[in-house]
């Protein structure tokens, strides 16, 4: 589906155009066409492939989905794959955005449902001074929008980690914490696999040998690169702390286990003493004088009670109960 197809001149919107008109706007200085597609079919895509001269392999990647983030140069043109990550019902969902940027055109291909880039276009159109930089600026704007959407995801993961940390030293939550930590680790890796290769891609767009198209917008790509670096650092921290938390969780289970054991042992000892005493007075010896005492029975119960009470008090003091 063609979402938008607009021509721009010197950073200002000229007008919405039809696919067949695109040719008229190509190859003219200060002009470029910005097309946005959403889940295009092969035929729609073929039209743009021809008019913009896109490479067959890149087109295939853009349509197929499930690519890893990357930046490829085809002559003067750039081809970038990015992942949009959104958090829905505690699950991370990934969508793919492919951007073709060449002299005079930008073509974005968005797969899967998810938020579009109408906002990005509007913001760009409000700043013609910047949009004048042409296709490279649009590429930056799209990248920046996608990367900005990673931050709430990172923050959600950080919040999840903190919530688990609050639980981890509390008894009886080990199983639940473990499931959440495993899940967290998995999501962290998913986010990392979206951000890290994109960071590598961004690193090619400023500094050393920069493609001609992006030479004037280097500072913007450095800014995106920097954002990705922050995300990576945050993700690494979450990942490392999650690993530590899993280890700590195991230790906590063992410590709790030990405490249960001590408690159990203490009660077993108390019961055992009572059992032995009852056993002794249940023996059938002919000559057991205390059996004939009038107060023998209550005394026996008292002795048992005192013995158990004394043990209880000792174990309490030792912290076993």
């Amino acid at each position: 589906m063609i979402v938008n197809c607009v021509a721009y001149e010197k950073g200002h919107r000229l007008r919405d155009i039809q696919t067949h008109e695109i040719e008229n706007y190509l190859g003219q200085p200060d002009r470029f066409v910005w097309v946005a597609l959403h889940n295009p079919d092969d035929k729609e895509m073929a039209a743009f492939q021809e008019v913009f001269g896109l490479h067959e392999l890149a087109v295939e990647d853009a349509l197929k989905g499930d690519q890893r983030p990357k930046l490829e140069e085809y002559g003067e043109a750039l081809f970038m794959i990015m992942h949009m990550i959104t958090l829905r019902d505690e699950q991370l969902e990934a969508g793919q955005v492919a951007v073709f940027a060449g002299p005079g055109y930008v073509l974005s291909v968005r797969l899967h449902p998810g938020q579009g880039f109408a906002m990005v276009r509007r913001r760009c159109e409000r700043e013609p001074k910047l949009l004048r930089h042409g296709p490279a600026f649009v590429l930056y704007a799209l990248m920046d929008a996608i990367v900005d959407r990673y931050f709430p995801v990172v923050e959600a993961l950080q919040a999840e980690l903190e919530s688990i940390e609050d639980q981890i030293f509390v008894r009886g939550t080990a199983r639940r914490s473990l499931e959440r930590l495993y899940q967290l680790k998995r999501q962290t890796m998913q986010l990392k696999h979206a951000a890290m290769p994109l960071g590598e891609a961004a690193a090619h767009l400023f500094g050393g040998r920069v493609p001609a198209l992006c030479r004037k917008t280097q500072e913007y790509f450095r800014d995106v690169y920097d954002h990705l670096h922050r995300i990576e650092a945050a993700v690494d921290t979450i990942r490392e702390m999650a690993i530590t938390a899993i280890q700590v969780n195991l230790s906590m289970v063992a410590i709790d286990e030990g405490e249960v054991h001590k408690r159990l042992a203490a009660w077993a000892a108390i019961f055992a003493v009572a059992t032995i005493l009852a056993g002794i007075w249940g023996m059938n010896f002919a000559h057991m004088p205390e059996l004939d005492w009038r107060l023998g029975y209550p005394l026996a119960l008292l002795v048992m009670g005192v013995a158990c009470g004394w043990l209880y008090w000792r174990f309490r003091r030792a912290g076993w109960l």
Copy 2:
């Protein structure tokens, strides 16, 4: 065994030729010979070694099997070793494919049983426009076919991991999960050792200093490289999650153990109380008035039942039972 020996001109199939005719087709512009061998013996190989001028060490590697994936340059010619990985009965099987590609010829040597490359040849012959690029394109087509066969293997490993993950938080499956995780880790490493060095090899065929033979097919090799990168990323995720799952498994065992312990402790306490009460009324004191009551016995049973029931109810509430 010689599977095929065909001459091509400008990307079109000329005809099947005999080994001794090969010389006539070498050194002619726009022509090349594509030979496919399967488990060749030393003599067959020697013939091709001579006509194509292959290096002794490379020929040895191609025949011996058990090499690691690699790319070697011998003058203008390229020599590549690849691993074919197939999943049979939950086990990974590895076959070796060696490809010699030089000006005017491609020679593929496949060892061990397994799927051949007839499909690859047919697909190439359907696109003479691409096959015109000559031996480099054939090398790409073979590489692409082999790498494409890695994907179902990766998917099978991912499915196995997911199936283990579903089990891991279920009680009583720890032993089986552990065996499967160990097996999974081992297979992951096998796949990694096939994909990673091949990725390094592919990286030499585009970008910087590219062998003359492959200069016009760089974009295709970049595509293969990209596929290998995706496989590596997937394999790394599986590997890291498998390690985490092994740790989680241990924690789950400990947690389950703790629960069994609590259950055990609770029942032991209940039984102990009943035992003590029976012991007390089994004592032989002369003066134990309740022993002479008419309802003494049923009352005693009632007291024991109530005591046990009360403990049961408390342990239940505490989650120990």
Copy 3:
């Protein structure tokens, strides 16, 4: 808030100036202006952005906070982000300092409360010979001051580790040690994320391709780099020992557990022997001669006592009690 705005000539303080006078001091050899801001609002910042020609993206970073440490070049000017780490109530607090340094000016922007840089300015003014190096020397002085403040934090973390180490082989402290180790690991990572990127930044200011501004102060930046390297090494040691300590902690828990078990087992055996003996003499056989002995009962108690005592002595010798 503007903390200071001072003009310098040949390393000597000229006088405090107003914002609107700054222009008069720019572009003059041997002169520079050093401005210090604290939590500036957008308007204050905009004034300096104009007079010094600061890049929009850098200004945004300086005001927003929460950036990662970095060094960026904008033409001849440098832009650096640093983290101030302070230890308050056993928690690490991070503040951000941004420094813009260009020909003729230095502008530092400090966010969040925390110690200012009045000391740094005073020390610089006492050494006009060094301050003559201009903005680069001020940048160094600020960096050096911030990095110097990392050392007490590192030392506090080391002291914490040592204090935990003293506890770790003591029984019954596992839970508390674990909480402290987890906390320590977290703080270590926070400090690392402040120091490591700053080290990378410092590495660009001496040695190879150094920005023109800093060419004469390379040795000073190498010194800062060296300090950061020491901090990193210390942090890595703490981190690795903390991981080991967590593992050791788990082993200690298991060892303690085993000792409790042995103790429990020994007492259980002693009690069991007494119970069996009492049970035997409680049997109702008609012909049990010892039951009729006059000293049967005390002898039975003696036998029970001796049996238990002997077991106690054996377990003691075996180290179980």
Copy 4:
């Protein structure tokens, strides 16, 4: 001890020569001297040091043993240290071989007992065409021989790992497996420390900036490099699987432990029920009608038997027994 001292011309063996004749064969095109020493004393070594002009530090390394594998250039000459690893009685033994190769000479110095290189010399002499490449080819042949002897060691370690893997999921073998895994890990590291630095050394003998001596034998050194790479990959796999196996071993111990616990708990419950019933009928209440029944006793035994049997059956069904 001088094992051999032979002069070669154009790849053909001329004749065995004495130490003092060596000079006559140096500096002549197409000729070289190949000397093999075994545990030489200082005096023997001094003679060769002078005639070949060997560097004092290299000579010291060759005689002292216990060096790490390395390649050093001294002017036009090369000096290489290699480790020979042999498996004797399940232990790895390491011997050191030092090779000096310069224009016109090769000198190998073998320390410690172990297999010599007579085979290598014979094989070289059978192929004068290759031996013509001179000292560099001899260096290659020695390297190749040593590296080839690593493979049986790797295979033995792999076999050991597989044998442990077969044991690891079997009950009651944890202690033995652990000892073997620890031993395996240690041997793996020993082999790695022999192979890895040698691989680095080999990497300097082909490809980029190659010493003049080896320029014509690059493909051979690449082959050795490739073998070393395979060994490293195999060693890494063993190492990583050994680490995993140690973790799995711990989990298996915990799982087995848990099963023992359940079994124990089940039997304890069965015994406890019998004990309680016996205790109840051992109470001394005056009015316990069943005590006076004629079949009371056999009925009581039946009840106890049925209760225990029912519990046994339930535990069996639950998999605890």
Copy 5:
């Protein structure tokens, strides 16, 4: 304190000189001054700073101690920090040595007590041929002496590891082994932090871009580098094996625990059977014929003995006892 201050010419000792005479020996070809200081005060140091023109930051580092090992170039001069590690009472002690080497002078500054370098000076003076290389050779000789002192430390750590390994599979030593492993790991890291940065420093003194001062002594620095590499490899092995040993230790604790459990369970079962039998014959049924048998009591004891014996024999056979 000034330990020595000697002038050399062409590698030969001229004579001991006073600080104020140094100037006379500077700037003369083939001559240099070698000064050794031990815990100098600021004033002593200031004198040398002036006469040799040392950089203020380097002087500060040399006096302050607690620096990390490093090599810095100040114009033509070199400044190196090294750590001396000695083993005293099973603890590693670190001292700092700073060396300033420039054209015509070497100045070593040793902090903290510990062995001096008189031996080094004597050995150098015995070999004027080598000492002719001037300050660079002295720097090498000092480095070599310090690095040589690392070897006994490495060997002590290896011996400690081996001694722990002998203990680790022995029962009942887990706690002590753990403390020693933790201590070993800590010392390993300390040694590594001394050796690794020094290795990096040494790597700058041979091979690529070497400071002019050291150009003729590259082979010597390569030798030191090589020693440091060996130390690093040994340290890495110790470190990795220590980590493995900690894991193995945990497994051993768990295995031992399991064996204690089985033993405990077996005895519990034996006791339980005896208790039940005694309980049965202690029941008060009117009609229990065996109670009235003359041999009832000894038979009952026999039955109990046989039952317990049979269980004992079965547990023994199963390896539980």
